[in-house]
């Protein structure tokens, strides 16, 4: 198929990286903890790519991305658990369900709120994120399984290197092709000038909604992979700070730059986890001093990301 032929080089590169990681894991050179972190990096990259589509490419400022990540996580975990389909065989279907549920919710709330611009949209998505967090906190009133503020326990571990890696690579290639198609072009037009976009016949409301729904779909899929990696979900995993994490990765990698998001995902997760290992336990909380300082420095010296020198 042309999709795979055109992506030959990327697919080859991905296979090499996969083989190297598989070897590393199989030989038992790295600890299980490191393995989990590496798999987690791919999940984070996938979710951040979703935000890059929404914000980096289309210019829609969202502070609630983690809510969609959470919706995907809870949906797929709930489905797997209650339907008894807790096997690797049905895993693709549960992942897809997580993505689709996030997309559906994005569609429903996107119609009213995407009319807002910039800071107003930021505040609306922030509000939505808080709402979802409150919903997770009280989810045990709907179903005991969801666990409410105690957390959702006992999820089967189905996410491994293979699932996380290949789902992410496939969806990154899909995203790349969308970005380089007429849809990605319209998203970039809209980011620059909505009025001019409408004047050349672009249905701006529809295209903005499409970017938002697709970006949230990616977050939902990532959430589903996350749920079956850590096997435990807590509402605090999907709060405002997690949304900020995704935002940092997008900005660090450069707005509207997929490769940048991949590097930044590694750097960011590596940095956070690295501090966890490097800092002695009694000053571990100092991370929350380093991270904001780093952000301030970044905004002062490289406001358009580590990868791009210029605005792009």
């Amino acid at each position: 198929m042309r999709f795979f032929l055109e992506s030959k080089r990327h697919i080859l590169l991905a296979l090499v990286i996969y083989a190297a990681l598989r070897l590393l894991f199989s030989l038992g050179i790295v600890s299980e903890y490191i393995e989990q972190v590496v798999i987690y990096v791919f999940i984070v990259i996938l979710a951040a790519t979703g935000l890059n589509v929404i914000y980096g490419y289309t210019g829609q400022f969202s502070l609630g991305h983690a809510a969609f990540y959470g919706i995907g996580a809870y949906t797929s975990a709930y489905l797997a658990k209650t339907s008894g389909l807790e096997s690797i065989f049905f895993f693709p279907a549960t992942i897809l369900a997580g993505g689709l549920m996030a997309a559906l919710v994005a569609y429903v709330i996107g119609i009213p709120i995407l009319r807002l611009r910039d800071d107003f949209l930021g505040i609306a998505t922030l509000g939505f994120g808080i709402l979802v967090r409150v919903f997770f906190d009280n989810s045990d009133r709907i179903s005991e399984v969801l666990g409410g503020s105690r957390g959702f326990t006992g999820i089967v571990k189905l996410t491994n290197l293979e699932t996380a890696f290949f789902v992410t690579v496939f969806l990154l290639l899909v995203t790349r092709n969308l970005i380089t198609s007429r849809y990605g072009l319209f998203w970039r037009c809209i980011k620059e000038d909505e009025t001019a976009s409408a004047s050349i016949g672009i249905n701006t409301a529809r295209m903005k909604l499409m970017a938002f729904v697709y970006g949230c779909f990616l977050a939902g899929v990532a959430g589903a992979l996350y749920a079956h990696l850590y096997t435990f979900l807590h509402p605090s995993n999907f709060d405002f700070l997690r949304s900020i994490d995704f935002l940092i990765i997008v900005i660090l990698g450069g707005m509207g730059n997929i490769a940048g998001t991949i590097y930044a995902g590694f750097i960011w997760v590596g940095f956070i986890e690295g501090l966890r290992i490097a800092l002695p336990g009694n000053i571990l909380d100092l991370r929350w001093v380093f991270i904001p300082l780093l952000l301030i420095a970044l905004m002062m010296w490289r406001p358009y990301g580590l990868m791009t020198k210029k605005k792009g």
Binding site: N177, L185, F186, R188, E192, S199, I200, G201, I202
Partner: protein
């Protein structure tokens, strides 16, 4: 023959300002209508009403015989109303070629699926879009600049790129807002040539707002004169030059250029 555009008692006010006050006019196929008038006369507002960036307070707009007053801006563009902006509105970070292909692609579709999986439909439409871009770049003197960011072009070329972008939607009616703004007499002469060529080649009907008398008198079949949101008169360039009200309201002591 039905007029390409028919504007009927169009009105728009902003707060206390009556920006457009009951304007009516018709533009027959193939005609170039010039709109002149002093600063703040309401000329740009008329364009913004026709393209529905502003909602009219009252009045009706018919395009090719059909009332389009309630259509959204992108629908009007798809029907064939193209426009440029008084203050350039290019996609500055996009390349010159992308500025043009985006306009062509808005009316020439393929599905997201076709885009993701690179079907034949995708290749055919994309190829046409790029051909369109190269044709228009050649035609408007932008050859070889396809990969440059639009914002990096010199001012005159940005103006021409905006024209190219508007032409890429394959419009029947083109609204041009002050194409000569900020141009020297030599550039204006080139622009007159270009606009004549464009019109012939694309079989267009044009409405052009312009302050440069040399340009507007030269190219228009009819001229509509506005002041304080109203139509003062409409006539041939020769008639407009002679009209006392026009000389008083707009051309001033100096008379026509």
């Amino acid at each position: 023959m039905t007029a390409v555009l028919e504007v009927d008692r169009l009105t728009k006010s902003f707060g206390g300002i009556q920006a457009v006050d009951g304007i009516s006019f018709k533009v027959p196929p193939g005609e170039t209508l010039g709109i002149i008038g002093p600063n703040g006369a309401g000329k740009t507002t008329v364009f913004n009403l026709i393209t529905r960036f502003y909602t009219p307070d009252s009045g009706d707009i018919r395009f090719m015989g059909r009332s389009v007053t309630h259509l959204a801006p992108h629908r009007l563009a798809r029907l064939g109303i193209g426009r440029t902006f008084q203050n350039l509105r290019l996609f500055r970070e996009l390349t010159v070629a992308e500025n043009i292909t985006s306009a062509y692609l808005s009316g020439n579709r393929y599905s997201p699926f076709a885009g993701i999986f690179r079907t034949d439909r995708h290749s055919v439409v994309e190829k046409k879009a790029w051909q369109k871009a190269y044709t228009l770049m050649d035609f408007l003197g932008l050859a070889g600049k396809g990969d440059a960011p639009a914002g990096s072009l010199p001012y005159g070329e940005q103006r021409r790129l905006e024209l190219a972008r508007a032409l890429a939607i394959e419009p029947k009616l083109l609204l041009i807002d002050e194409p000569g703004a900020g141009m020297n007499p030599r550039e204006i002469r080139d622009l007159v040539e270009t606009l004549r060529d464009v019109k012939k080649r694309f079989n267009l009907t044009i409405i052009m707002i312009e302050h440069q008398m040399g340009l507007v008198m030269n190219i228009s079949d009819h001229i509509l004169v506005m002041d304080f949101g109203e139509k003062i008169m409409q006539g041939t360039p020769a008639e407009v030059r002679r009209d006392a009200r026009v000389i008083e309201a707009y051309l001033g002591e100096e008379g026509p250029a």
